[in-house]
């Protein structure tokens, strides 16, 4: 590519508003059908933990279990267990992430998808101004617009928190779902 063309690649956009920080990728239902297209139903199998169980999870996984419950569904077809899908949240340096982890009946990771990604650090003042432009619109409209507005280039964010989260969820599978 010619140098001039390269310079021209970054066009100033007068309509550009301050960046949005929320992106939704998949709903829970979309993630379920993506991971388990053959399933006929997803059985809510939410786990509830007492303090001993939370201690056990921390001991085995090496990371703290913050919540007292964990969302998880069992994918079934005609009563057959096809696997599990967890939905979990992790908090990073600038980001708050909801992701789904699919696990086979034998505990293998089938896939990970980020469902929702929110940047929380910095730019709050700008964002307030940005939101005020859309007064009268529903929150849903704002977010839908937001996810289409901007992509962010920045110093790389680590996905270590998801790696830790997956280890914690696999520990739960091992403790509570393996024989379920």
């Amino acid at each position: 590519m010619k140098y001039e063309a390269l310079l021209g690649a970054l066009l100033p956009m007068t309509v550009l508003v301050a960046p949005a920080y929320a992106t939704d990728y998949l709903s829970v239902a979309q993630a379920q059908s993506q991971f388990f297209p053959d399933a006929s139903q997803f059985v809510d199998s939410t786990l509830n933990f007492d303090s001993d169980q939370r201690r056990q999870i921390k001991k085995n996984a090496g990371t703290r279990q913050r919540g007292e419950t964990q969302q998880v569904w069992r994918a079934e077809r005609d009563g057959e267990n096809l696997g599990w899908m967890f939905v979990d949240n992790v908090i990073g340096k600038h980001e708050f992430i909801t992701y789904a982890l699919a696990v086979s009946p034998s505990g293998e990771v089938l896939g990970i998808e980020v469902l929702s990604y929110r940047e929380t650090h910095g730019g709050e003042v700008r964002e307030a101004g940005w939101r005020s432009q859309f007064e009268g619109k529903s929150l849903e409209d704002t977010l839908r617009l937001g996810k289409d507005v901007t992509n962010i280039s920045g110093a790389t964010l680590s996905c270590r928190n998801i790696t830790d989260g997956v280890r914690r969820l696999l520990t739960m599978w091992d403790l509570y779902l393996k024989h379920a």
Partner: protein
């Protein structure tokens, strides 16, 4: 006012997965099965590069090369191409970008030590390349971290194009490339977490790095930033600078952010231009 770009762009399929140690977003035109398959294939291409070129994984091709200096090692086309590009950029940037400083990063405790003696830093001539194989002349530790994310983005874009996508983008934790008849509004996230809009990117790549203060005479070429920074040497947030570079290819933009972070301020823009990029000053 609605964003006219968003309206003109139409429906698209967009996914994000944790890969390459960061969050990777892949998006492409359409919401049908073809688009979903294209996105899945693009992620698969990125995962393949990650497994080949990972310094962290002891069984990657790169780790195999690093562990066997002096021997010719058979390598896949991706690893060889990455080594060739990294070697060229190391030489062309007069070692401001330096892919042989893995040892130094091990000494800082940021990269794992897989064993054996090593030199903290080497030079471009430490890498010998031949068809289908490569050899390290001295026991340097090659790290492709400054270039592999961008390269993986390029590979993913190629996959999307081959799958018949008319437009799309891939963003691997800030290494971003956009293709097709479509402009993606982009913002730069700075070291303190704040962001600023840059404009719209079309048929080009943008990469951003933050670094804590340029060339350190004790550790030439070393950039530690963000969460990789050991507590002991964390620069004050106010000192950290953010550098963004635009280029045709993502691997080049990725590598040139390192050159930008290490070049003297007075030479920065000129050096980046000489090496095929455009520097966006903070």
């Amino acid at each position: 006012m609605l964003d006219p770009q968003a309206a003109a762009r139409g429906a698209h399929t967009k996914r994000m997965r944790p890969l390459l140690g960061t969050f990777v977003e892949v998006a492409t035109a359409g919401v049908d099965t073809r688009a979903t398959n294209a996105v899945n294939q693009a992620f698969e291409a990125i995962r393949e590069i990650h497994e080949l070129a990972s310094f962290q994984q002891p069984d990657s091709e790169l780790s195999h090369l690093n562990a066997n200096h002096g021997q010719w090692i058979q390598l896949s086309k991706h690893t060889l191409r990455l080594l060739r590009l990294a070697r060229q950029m190391t030489e062309a940037s007069e070692h401001l970008f330096n892919c042989t400083l893995g040892g130094m990063i091990i000494e800082h405790g940021v990269l794992p030590d897989h064993g054996g003696d090593f030199l903290p830093i080497g030079c471009a001539d430490d890498i010998e390349l031949a068809p289908g194989r490569a050899r390290l002349v001295r026991p340097v530790r090659i790290t492709l971290d400054g270039i592999a994310k961008g390269y993986a983005v390029d590979c993913a874009i190629k996959v999307l194009k081959c799958a018949g996508s008319s437009w799309g983008w891939v963003n691997a934790g800030g290494d971003l490339r956009v293709f097709g008849d479509f402009a993606l509004p982009v913002a730069q996230r700075r070291a303190d977490g704040s962001t600023r809009p840059l404009g719209a990117l079309q048929n080009a790549s943008l990469a951003t790095s933050s670094a804590g203060g340029g060339l350190n005479p004790d550790t030439p070429g070393l950039i530690l930033a963000g969460e990789d920074q050991p507590e002991s040497s964390t620069p004050k947030a106010g000192n950290a600078q953010t550098f963004s570079v635009i280029s045709r290819f993502a691997w080049r933009a990725d590598a040139l952010t390192k050159v930008a972070a290490l070049a003297p301020k007075s030479q920065r823009a000129e050096r980046i231009a000489h090496l095929g990029g455009v520097l966006i000053e903070e």
